[in-house]
């Protein structure tokens, strides 16, 4: 089986791109499933189901969705293996600019959109900088100049990635992406022992765990204090 992790900021076009790409994969006779990870709410599972794609969803609640992803990716992979899918695609909400769900040796795709502004590539961390493929959407509503400037900024922060423009509405470019996602020889039987591409912050403080009360005595774990000068 192949596993592909897709991540990107909210509403950047992840689901649109994945749906169009799966169309092309299906035409090749491949069985594709999706696992969707988000924080509090998502309707994406309904969209995938409507398209006849087996889907599982997980909501991380107050946790960083990427932390939640790593804790569950093995189970979800086993689900896909048991069902004999050829490809499992994970879609995770890239809500945390510091984390990314990418695993060494597993194809990583980042989806960002042209509308997010030309300084966005600078601000996104490992989710963009360590992706193998960067998909840029919504080129239909900006000029050629803006598309070129945006792509060149992406290239500066991740020179080794393949950068593709895809229209999430019409699917233009999604066939091309589909050819880069599946490798027949690649056979993932288990994720055991694999490693994240980039460590996630250890910043586990009592507030991460649900503490709401304010005050030094409630603060545990990795707490950092700012210097406030008098």
């Amino acid at each position: 089986m192949n596993l592909v992790t897709v991540s990107g900021p909210p509403s950047s076009g992840k689901t649109s791109v994945i749906l169009k790409t799966i169309d092309s994969l299906k035409k090749r006779g491949l069985k594709v499933a999706v696992a969707k990870f988000d924080c509090l709410y998502t309707d994406d599972d309904i969209l995938y189901e409507k398209a006849g794609i087996p889907v599982r969803k997980g909501l991380s609640g107050a946790l960083c969705p990427d932390h939640y992803f790593v804790s569950n990716v093995e189970e979800i992979t086993n689900w896909a293996l048991k069902n004999d899918f050829d490809i499992l695609i994970s879609e995770s909400a890239g809500l945390c600019n510091r984390c990314s769900p990418y695993i060494k040796g597993i194809k990583a795709v980042c989806v960002i959109d042209n509308l997010s502004g030309i300084n966005t590539p600078k601000k996104i961390g490992p989710m963009l900088k360590t992706a193998d493929i960067v998909v840029i959407t919504k080129g239909d509503i900006v000029s050629q100049a803006e598309r070129e400037v945006f792509a060149s900024r992406v290239n500066t922060v991740n020179p080794s990635a393949v950068i593709m423009n895809i229209n999430g509405l019409t699917g233009q470019g999604s066939f091309e992406l589909s050819t880069l996602l599946y490798e027949e020889e690649l056979n993932i039987n288990s994720l055991k022992g694999m490693e994240l591409r980039f460590p996630m912050p250890a910043a586990l403080c009592s507030y991460c765990l649900g503490e709401t009360r304010i005050g030094e005595s409630y603060q545990m774990g990795n707490v950092r204090k700012m210097k406030v000068e008098d």
Partner: protein
């Protein structure tokens, strides 16, 4: 990439000035640390900083190496001139072979693409953009300068075979016309930037009905003005040899001049259109049916004569439009 790890940052930057933008865009502060070697620089971060800024020295060093390699290739090479693009036949949606030997498109040509909705116009354009090698649903292959093309046309973000003029231009940036074009010029690393920018604005003004200045905010350009700016910008700054146009709306812009400008910059123009005036401005038109190239028609002399009549009709229509806009009342049809 050991070699660059042991070099001083100041040396690296003086040899590769473009690295400044790499450090900048990656949020790496180098002020005051130029004397350090790259590995000393990365070693200088404490654990918290490494965690906060997501610094991975190994990955970043490799990325710097890759960036240098790409930029040298980009700056050093003479642009490869694309003189011809050849389409080799594939199959239509029913699996029937397309009925032509090869279709050669040359620099300076305008090719129109016509056909009903869903017939496969976008797929043909997609085949060209992805330089298909029998590996798309149509099975077509694309040659460049009569040869099997370099992989860079697929994968390099700086060398794209096709630039596309968008229909929509809701600029998302808050910039003046000058700053906007400057941003594009910077990302293309052009020399004599000021002259190039001036030339683009001049050309744009010659295409648009009403002129604008370099200081005009792009968000306040009219539809015609922004279309004119985009065409001039793409013609002059975009490196892509092929320009793809999905209709040029007939308002506030001289379409014939616009096409002329693109051709004078040695572009190949591919245009999907339903507008007879545009369709007949092409040298040839490709008719798509059921996913396949059904026919290729050279624009005939008769058609060119008809085109000038159509253009007159077009002007007449435009004149009425202007009158209505200016609040006039139309009483009779004037024959021009």
């Amino acid at each position: 990439m050991d070699s660059i790890s042991n070099r001083k940052i100041s040396d690296l930057i003086s040899e590769f000035p473009f690295l400044t933008s790499f450090f900048n865009d990656n949020g790496l502060e180098i002020a005051g640390k130029e004397k350090n070697t790259l590995s000393e620089y990365f070693a200088g971060f404490d654990e918290d900083e490494i965690e906060d800024k997501a610094i991975d020295p190994e990955v970043l060093t490799a990325q710097i190496g890759e960036f240098i390699k790409q930029m040298i290739a980009f700056l050093g090479k003479e642009d490869e001139v694309v003189k011809t693009v050849t389409i080799l036949p594939g199959k239509d949606k029913s699996g029937e072979a397309e009925n032509f030997n090869e279709l050669v498109i040359r620099q300076g040509e305008i090719i129109c693409i016509v056909g009903p909705t869903g017939s496969g116009k976008s797929r043909l354009l997609g085949d060209i953009e992805w330089v298909a090698q029998g590996d798309t649903p149509t099975g077509r292959s694309i040659l460049i300068n009569e040869d099997v093309p370099d992989k860079k046309w697929r994968f390099s973000s700086a060398d794209k075979l096709v630039a596309q003029l968008s229909q929509n231009m809701n600029f998302v940036m808050d910039l003046s016309v000058y700053e906007f074009v400057e941003l594009h010029a910077e990302s293309r690393m052009v020399e004599n930037r000021e002259q190039v920018i001036e030339r683009i604005i001049d050309k744009a003004n010659s295409l648009a009905g009403e002129s604008f200045t370099p200081e005009t905010p792009i968000t306040s350009l009219s539809g015609g003005q922004s279309r004119a700016l985009m065409i001039a910008d793409t013609a002059i700054l975009s490196k892509s040899p092929i320009i793809l146009i999905d209709e040029i709306e007939n308002a506030g812009i001289d379409r014939k001049k616009a096409l002329g400008l693109l051709l004078s910059e040695d572009k190949i123009v591919l245009m999907a259109t339903h507008d007879p005036v545009l369709a007949l401005m092409g040298d040839r038109r490709i008719v798509i049916k059921n996913g396949g190239i059904f026919k290729v028609i050279d624009t005939t002399d008769d058609e060119r004569t008809i085109l000038s009549t159509l253009e007159k009709m077009d002007k007449t229509l435009l004149a009425y439009r202007t009158k209505l806009r200016q609040g006039e009342i139309i009483t009779k049809i004037q024959n021009t």
